[in-house]
Amino acid sequence: MKMEFEVRGMDFNRAGEAAAQIKKALQMVGMKIETIRKTVIVAYEAELNIVIHAHKGILSAVLLPDRVQITAADEGPGIADVSLALQEGYSTAPPHVREMGFGAGMGLPNIQRCSDKLDIESRPGYGTTVTAVIINRPGGE
């Protein structure tokens, strides 16, 4: 089962809509609460990354009985140094975005904290694809 959402750059008003729909889908299939909790954060931060940094992108969610995979593929500037971007507080968001309260450099660290597997593929000048896997653990309530 796969869901796909188109995300537009700088469209802050709609940021969160895709994450909300993914959450509802997870509730409908009966994923564990812990899985849902983590996925919402991962999906939202990934969605927000596209909104802040890219021209446009696709957010997708693959639902399997034992895990959820969130992929955010964007057409953006790419990330020059992935390990730097994973550090808390490191941000390349423009000042006007920061003034809105977004882009505090917690996006990727939050995604990393809430996912079991994270893969970031980036080609500077072309775009970035972030793939995060959240395991649906039986004990997750």
């Binding site: 089962m1 869901m3 969160g16 994450a19 909300a20 959450k23 509802k24 889908a25 509730q27 409908m28 299939v29 009966g30 994923m31 609460i33 812990e34 849902i36 909790r37 919402v40 954060i41 939202y44 931060e45 639902l63 399997l64 009985p65 939050n110």
Partner: protein, 444 residues
Amino acid sequence: MQKYFHSVMLDTEKCKGCTNCIKYCPTEAIRVREGRAQIIEERCIDCGECIRICPNRAKLAVTDPLERLAEYKHTIALPAPSLYAQFGPRVKPGDILGALLDIGFDDYFEVAVGAEIISACLAKYLRDSDLPRPLISSACPAVVRLMQVRFPGLLEHIVLLDTPMEIAARLAREKAMQKLGLKDEEIGVFFITPCPAKVTAVKQPFGNRSYVDGAISMSIIYSDIKNALQSPSTIIRENRSPAAGVGWGKAGGENHAISEHWSLLAVDGIHSVINLLEEIERGGLSDIDYVEAQACTGGCIGGPLVPQNLFVSRVRMENLVKILHAEQEQLPPIKVDYDSCKLPGPIKPRPTLMLSEDINEAIKMLEQVEKITADLPGLDCGSCGSPSCRALAEDIVRGYGESSYCVFKLKEKLQILAREMVVLSQMKPPAMGRETLKDNQNKQ
């Protein structure tokens, strides 16, 4: 058997099947089928939004009648703080308490006192820094039920303290048992309620038991109180009416009662509450210590069962709180037993959105929902009796609807049928073939 008690019900006589309510329900719990609204009971949180929106007054709240007082040897009225804001500027809490005795209650216990106690407990609760932030108030039962259905991941944020109503009821009961030597079952405690959500909280409590025996609608008892206020037999009664506790009746009052060095947020109106909970769910607002969330716009003074206009009662309440605040000095300090105010256990989720118990099956069903949704017009017009095209798709997969419920789909089908009929009407059976031949010859 009915699994959940609900105060909010439908009057089938009055319902015209207009579909006004279906879009406003925060949990998508209403469908119109066979020309009547139906409430999906697992999903309903008794918020009363549908009562407000129904143009035919077909949604109602089931509350307890005053006649129930006769069932008990000793009856106690528990006025919600919002009741104090329903009358003119000269009517003080002491007058209202006097009126309640005049109506037939043997005693009263102010819920505002329960709120005063919980306010003190909250300060202690907030000091525990290990709890997830922000903590969320447990006072509005409609919000707690909303979270059980739509935000199960946030249930651990709920403050596990009992509501002011329950605290007041327990103390009132204990007092009656000690002072009058009455047995538990001889005492009838009745809450004067601003909303159906509280009625449900009494009949189906979050804790092990409710200390309240019944809930009487504020709008039903309103005229009795008004009459009693005019009667010479009604005298002003002793009242504590703590400013901080009375203020709980309106939005922001709860936060106001907690000491100010915390970072506090107040939100009211069910749809605003939903937006805020979504924000918390996405990992936001961890800098906030406590969220006061009330389902009704304006707080309890905006409840579905209050008689007075919200804007009028807001000013009444603000003025009253100011007066009470000035008198505050003379109040003796209240005794607070923190441990007895705690809820026995965590609030459990209500997974009512699940398509199937079996996750493999549920994923397959969700795929179908997506497919059907893509095929529907996406206008969310509500004519099908479901709140949105997606909701109809869900209903179809759950066996609770058909694609022909969609008027656009129906029209499409009719068009196909009409075209087929034209084709069919031009076809002629062989027995008629000859005549056609003759006709043709004649024409030539």
